[in-house]
């Protein structure tokens, strides 16, 4: 393929990325950019050109040892739910923008430690970026079938590197505050993650199913090749140890690589995105590894005996079959993998370079006296130039040192170098006593051992093949052979270097930490890091500081970097959050910490502390004092927690009491009403009786007929009184549960007829027609006497309310699954829907028919309800077009069982 065409395709591709990044920065697209899938995919920046091309090379040439690079992350990712969450919380509250900030802040905001971490990262990552550029350049020449030009400005890949550097430096520095989220970059990386995976799967499927005839075919042909068995097994205990060390180094790398820290911590918008990443990211890695083996061994079969670089099988195979589109697609996938690594790494490295090395050690003095706009411009420019020169620098490393090693070996060297941060890093979040000196000496010693056992031999290997350094050791001392240090000769160079460097690194870290007392600031941050869950909402409280400071001075410093308006807004937020008077002249510890946090994103933790401490006067506190204060604040927090718990409980009890009280009051009112009505009801017949008896007593000359009439009245009123008292007693028995029912199996139709029988006369008198629908036998379980009482009651109500002419009562029985439903419907004046619930209350009618003398006792329906409920049935009013309809249910089976 023509170079110019491929270059055009590349530029078009970069253009699309520019567009995506630009689009993602817009606020209205936040739904697309701030979600857990974008977050999980952006983590796949882990898969670089090394994964894309290098894995195949390893699988083809030496075997399984590319797998541990993914095994390590797979092992630790489930535990992210605790570890990564903790790191994210710490970084969020402290506005941390890089791993150098993270480590140096924990060890007492140490400027020196931040600088060391930055240098270690630079040493580890710069060759790694060079490696990605090498991959782009080499694959470019393979696709175009050209040779790289020895004159740098003639080589097209130079211009690709420049374009990349411009892209990264433009989009990586949109914000002065480095802890701001770069949505554009994250979205572009997530998109590239999809592309590289899809293109890799396509070539995998192509090789497996189109070039070959499935996995079995590849296996059948590949297994005839030389060394197939050795290259597809781990191969014994020693190799198993290598495997273990490689998986450990990648386990560290997934936390410590600057680009991983950038994506998983700094760019994390919400903690809950971890929820998706925990399963999606391992799944992504799994998919990426499925076709490595088929492509590698397919390539081995196809190119047996030819001298080709196995790293590039995925390009050579489609090219071999003259499939141009596929070749370009694979190339674009590799390009994506490389540039996302280059862009993200250079952004995070330049942030470290500016915030942890350049600003605190040189620019700070200049920045201190400038205006805000100039300051911001300067900071951004430092980072822009940083990103640009890092990428270009890496390109020069690649060109001038002509990196001859395969992708994997250089990648692993950088993993081992970065792993030197592991003891200090994990100690930071889990071990309170880890100290600054321990971290510094540990990292330094580990780094020196790395240089001796890995960097030096490789550098010598690049320049001078006749050196005896590797084969005979430094000064020809056999024990100092860089690849067999102290005679350890059964590990491969990378695991070997990892073992010795990590051993000395962690031993030093632990030994120094426990031997020497750290200062109070370290201990303060140690508490904050280890116990972040306690402090995540009000972490300013956890900062112990004593001294004199004036709010005005602090504000002045803030204005220099944030500007007038943002400072004012931030101060307002602070005052509201901690309920501080805005005219307060003296600043307290919380404001000092708050101000440091505000500056941290702009100039890094170390510079922020230097700046703030230049305007405040801090008194030294002793370590025990710090611990005491922290202890107190911790106690306060627990006491507060307990207090809230108790007050919550009290609240609950109070509301329960209130409810109980309300019920009691209501019941009391009901009881009063009941007594009132009962007395009233009792008095009516008594008054009548008394009136009649009085007349009879006083007047002896009443005519016989009238006297009979009066006596008749007395008898009927006494009857009524009797009935009323019976009913009240009845109801009371039901309500207090003294009444029992004796259900037996009965036919409801017969019962209805039995109930109608005594009422026949009444029905005839009012000329009412009564219909019973359903004549068949319907069996149910109930106490027949009681149900006759209910039906009689309902019927007499219906008769009472039926119109004078054309009265109609319909009784309907329906059989349902577990119960029967009986309804009594009349065509009278009906019931007001508002009263549907209350008509079953005692004396309901008394309060509603006061214009008319009550008909009946007003207890009938209340008793019906009690009876039905004792049968475990229900009774209710159904709305109907004309008249009233009352329905009740009875069980079909014996309720006792």
């Amino acid at each position: 393929m023509n170079s110019a065409v491929l270059l055009l395709i590349l530029l078009g591709y970069l253009g699309i990325l520019f567009f995506i990044a630009h689009w993602a920065e817009k606020k209205e697209n936040v739904k697309w950019t701030n979600n857990s899938y974008v977050y999980s995919l952006s983590l796949a920046v882990y898969c670089t050109a090394w994964t894309y091309y290098g894995s195949i090379g390893v699988a083809a040439n030496s075997g399984l040892s590319y797998l541990p690079i993914y095994i390590g992350p797979i092992i630790i990712i489930p535990a992210w739910i605790i570890i990564l969450k903790k790191i994210i919380r710490i970084s969020r509250v402290n506005k941390i923008s890089s791993i150098a900030d993270f480590i140096s802040l924990r060890y007492g905001n140490s400027r020196f430690l931040g600088a060391i971490v930055t240098v270690v990262c630079l040493a580890g990552i710069l060759p790694y970026i060079a490696l990605q550029l090498k991959a782009i350049s080499e694959t470019f020449h393979i696709v175009t079938k050209t040779n790289s030009s020895s004159y740098i400005f003639d080589d097209t890949t130079t211009y690709v590197a420049v374009a990349l550097a411009l892209f990264a430096s433009y989009y990586g520095t949109r914000y002065v505050d480095a802890s701001e989220k770069r949505k554009g970059i994250v979205t572009a990386v997530a998109l590239e993650s999809i592309l590289k995976l899809v293109f890799f799967l396509i070539i995998g499927i192509y090789v497996t199913f189109f070039v070959f005839d499935g996995y079995e075919d590849i296996y059948a042909k590949a297994s005839l090749l030389e060394n197939f068995k050795e290259k597809n097994t781990i191969g014994g205990l020693e190799q198993g140890l290598n495997w273990f060390f490689l998986s450990m180094v990648s386990l560290f790398a997934i936390f410590l690589l600057p680009r991983q820290f950038q994506m998983s911590v700094v760019e994390n918008n919400r903690e809950r995105h971890i929820k998706t990443a925990i399963w999606l990211f391992p799944l992504y890695l799994l998919l990426f590894n499925l076709f490595v083996y088929p492509i590698a061994w397919g390539g081995n079969v196809l190119f047996e005996g030819k001298n080709v670089n196995a790293d590039t099988y995925s390009l050579l195979i489609p090219q071999f079959f003259d499939n141009k589109i596929l070749t370009v697609l694979v190339f674009l996938g590799g390009f994506s993998a490389a540039i996302s690594m280059i862009v993200v790494s250079s952004i995070s490295l330049s942030t470290m370079l500016s915030n942890n090395l350049l600003i605190p050690y040189s620019f700070l003095g200049k920045l201190r006296n400038e205006e805000q706009t100039i300051n911001n411009k300067k900071i951004v420019n430092i980072r822009k130039i940083g990103i640009f020169s890092l990428i270009i620098g890496a390109y020069f490393i690649y060109r001038f040192f002509a990196l001859d090693y395969s992708l994997v070996s250089i990648g692993l060297i950088s993993f081992v170098i970065i792993a030197q941060l592991a003891p200090a890093f994990f100690g930071a979040i889990f071990w309170r006593r880890g100290s600054r000196m321990g971290a510094i000496y540990g990292i330094l010693i580990g780094f020196v051992i790395c240089v001796y056992t890995l960097l030096l031999p490789y550098a010598i290997g690049l320049t001078n093949n006749e050196s005896s350094f590797v084969s005979e050791g430094f000064q020809k001392i056999a024990l100092l052979k860089p690849f067999q240090l102290f005679g350890l000769d059964y590990l491969q160079p990378v695991p070997h270097a990892l073992f010795w460097s990590m051993l000395f690194n962690s031993l030093t870290y632990f030994a120094v930490s426990v031997s020497f007392k750290g200062n109070y600031r370290e201990r303060n941050y140690a508490e904050m890091y280890v116990d972040i869950d306690k402090y995540s909402t009000n972490h300013e409280n956890a900062f112990v500081w004593k001294g004199t400071a004036y709010t005005r001075d602090i504000e002045k410093v803030l204005i220099r970097f944030l500007g007038e308006e943002r400072t004012k807004r931030a101060m307002n937020i602070f005052n509201v959050k901690y309920n501080v008077d805005k005219n307060q002249e003296l600043a307290d510890a919380r404001l000092v910490k708050f101000a440091e946090n505000l500056l941290t994103g702009h100039i890094g933790t170390a510079s922020a502390r230097i700046l703030i401490s230049s305007v405040v006067k801090e008194e030294k506190i002793t370590l025990p004092e710090v611990l005491k204060i922290l202890e107190e604040s911790k106690e306060n927090i627990t006491i507060n927690k307990k207090l809230t718990e108790t007050s919550n409980q009290l609240q609950k009890i109070t509301s329960e009491l209130q409810k109980a009280n309300e019920t009691l009051v209501r019941k009391d009112v009901q009881k009063d009403e009941f007594l009132d009505t009962v007395t009233h009801e009792l008095r009516t017949p008594i008054t009548a009786i008394r009136a009649a008896s009085e007349i009879l007593h006083d007047d002896d000359e009443i005519p016989e007929e009238l006297r009979k009439q009066f006596l008749q009245n007395i008898i009927s009123e006494s009857d009524r009184l009797n009935r009323l008292i019976d009913k009240i007693l009845d109801l009371e028995k039901f309500e207090t549960g003294k009444q029992t029912i004796h259900p037996t199996q009965n036919d409801i139709i017969a019962t209805i007829e039995n109930s109608i029988e005594p009422l026949q006369q009444l029905i005839k008198n009012k000329n009412i027609s009564v219909y019973v629908e359903s004549k068949d036998q319907i069996l149910a379980f109930y106490d027949e006497d009681r149900i006759i009482q209910v039906i009689t009651n309902l019927l007499s109500n219906a008769i009472k309310f039926c119109p004078e002419t054309e009265g109609l009562i319909t009784i309907q029985v329906k059989k349902k699954e577990n119960f029967i439903e009986t309804s009594v419907q009349d065509n009278g004046k009906g019931i007001n829907p508002n009263d549907f619930d209350v008509i079953f209350d005692k004396f309901y009618q008394a309060s509603n028919q006061n214009f008319k003398k009550p008909v009946g006792s007003g207890l009938g329906l209340a008793i019906c309800k009690q009876i039905i409920e004792h049968h475990k049935g229900k009774i209710w009013v159904e709305s109907s077009i004309k008249g009233a309809c009352i329905v009740f249910t009875l069980p079909v089976k014996n309720i006792e069982n």
Partner: protein, 64 residues
């Protein structure tokens, strides 16, 4: 997410650490074919898939 459920995931991590390293991984160290893949690949990929599934189940069920 409750501490107890978080610990399920930590236990999964420990399991993977044991399953994917020596000595256990060496028990499956064979290049014999199974569905066209050497057995060691099959073993590692299955453990991998198992961890994806387990993590998915735990977070779907308990992450609130």
């Amino acid at each position: 997410m409750k501490k107890r459920h978080q610990q399920k995931l930590v236990v999964l991590s420990l399991l993977l650490l044991l399953a994917l390293n020596l000595p256990i991984v060496l028990l499956f160290d064979s290049s014999e074919s199974f569905l066209g893949f050497p057995i060691i690949y099959i073993y590692i990929f299955s453990a991998w898939l198992f961890s994806v599934l387990m993590s998915w189940i735990v977070v779907q069920r308990y992450y609130e």
